[in-house]
Symmetry: C2
Subunit: 327 residues, 2 copies
Amino acid sequence: MDPIVVVDVMGGDFAPSVVIDGIMSAVQADQFLHIIAVGLPDAISSLEGVERVTCVGASQVIAMDEHPAHAIRSKKDSSIVVGCKLVKSGDAQGFFSAGSTGAVMAAATLGIGRLKKVSRPVLATVLPAIDTPVILGDIGANADCKPDYLVQFALMMQAYATTVLEVKKPRVRLLNIGEEETKGSQFAQECFALLKESVPHFEGNIEGKEILTSMTDIIVTDGFTGNITLKTLEGTSRIVLDQVKAALTANLFSKLYAAPLAGQVRKLKEEMDPDQFGGAPLLGTKGVVVIGHGSSSALAISNGIQVTATAIRNELTNKVASALSED
Amino acid sequence: MDPIVVVDVMGGDFAPSVVIDGIMSAVQADQFLHIIAVGLPDAISSLEGVERVTCVGASQVIAMDEHPAHAIRSKKDSSIVVGCKLVKSGDAQGFFSAGSTGAVMAAATLGIGRLKKVSRPVLATVLPAIDTPVILGDIGANADCKPDYLVQFALMMQAYATTVLEVKKPRVRLLNIGEEETKGSQFAQECFALLKESVPHFEGNIEGKEILTSMTDIIVTDGFTGNITLKTLEGTSRIVLDQVKAALTANLFSKLYAAPLAGQVRKLKEEMDPDQFGGAPLLGTKGVVVIGHGSSSALAISNGIQVTATAIRNELTNKVASALSED
């Protein structure tokens, strides 16, 4: 069966235009992909008649800065809520949005529903580390966690690693402030003990300085620590690259020499761009949900849609469910 | 009265040689500075007879990987324990070491003792942000915190900012996962409420991506989050700069053009080097304590000693004490 992905045409800072471009590019790249484009009638009109694209109107849009829970309750005909309903009803198997992360998480958890045995869905992201990519989660779905949530997060991310990134035996580490089992907060120590007991290929702690070193496939943490870590990493990387650019063009002399190198630095920026991995999967709901950066480009949207399709083809939802039922 | 700083000659990956160089450079830079150099007799012998340097022998050394609490109990004649005793006895007003952070924290807290009203000393660090430096703490002294600890941390870091960095009204923000007061874990929300009530110039939350933007003078957090944040920041910055270097020298063509730019990138690396700020102050003990990076160079050691001296001259210890008694 060909994968059917619902796409939120209104999601993202540059919606709807880049989303429409992303949809066009995705259906061209994958000739078996079907898309249901959800958005304001005006926004989706240009997609009418495109092969393998079905348009579904929604009369409302949830803005980036709206309170998530309130927004999904008060805007029942928004593209995000309508999109999740189409997955819930079985019209599609996955949902991609570059809209408000909080609203998508809330709509997906309530609208699509959690898989049996899932205490809390986990929001993960794929980081471009030195050699192999690394999956980090939770990056913000759950600010307060219990140790057994982290076990579930690890197992669900392992299902994602095998299904979407084709990692055979995904290694897991716990984000902590030292290598030894006895390091860290009381919470971290309890998590360590449970992970050691319940998660295959759990290899101990990992420190902040090692996140990008590819020494593991999966880094598990609570949503508070994970969100701060991810944003610190993104912010630092951006600021350092900006400083490099400024240093290289500090004077006419260095400008002359730096000009031919601009391409190398740009290429590096692209290699380190998380958008290449197509967004953040929300794992634990009864359907595939992938959330793109608000600042997503058309390429990032297209990648995100294709990752959603890959996850559907490789039965991510079933794999997540069975990872937890074996637990 | 001239400042007297105890220096742990055995502390750091390149001790004793770089520490001795650092001591020589510090006494040359500051003609009123007195140093008590503590270490193995062989290690300190070259300092005998140096003006304004007093040598004190210690027969033991605490290694970087020893269990801190166990090490300070079992090695009572180590340079770290002896150094702290010299502050406790009043022979010196401050202690600098680039040795094991855990051992120095433990020895200082137990050996020098906490100031009245201090629940837990805080380990802080000064980060080179875009415009003005930013103080981040706790970076690892307290993995488990209560909300009122963070109020004390903020007040103690404010005393450091005014005393050592000469910031007049140090602005404080809480490291969190969103801007609004209602964001974050239960713990973060409780901290927000207390900080708002008790800390002058508290300006709300700050996210991970904003740490280096100089939008605040002080960032307060618990030691678990702070340690992971700091290490993520250092690790990311190092890896990005390494990648830039690799990209710039990827082929003969770019190598030719990049060679004259190497100086710019090196300068940038130095500007972003936390060593320029002389190490991490441990605030809340009855004496000035500054802990250097294990990998400290002679320059970093010299800076660390001079920061310790500045803190003594400007009466950091009294300022920290009175910041808490006004609370």
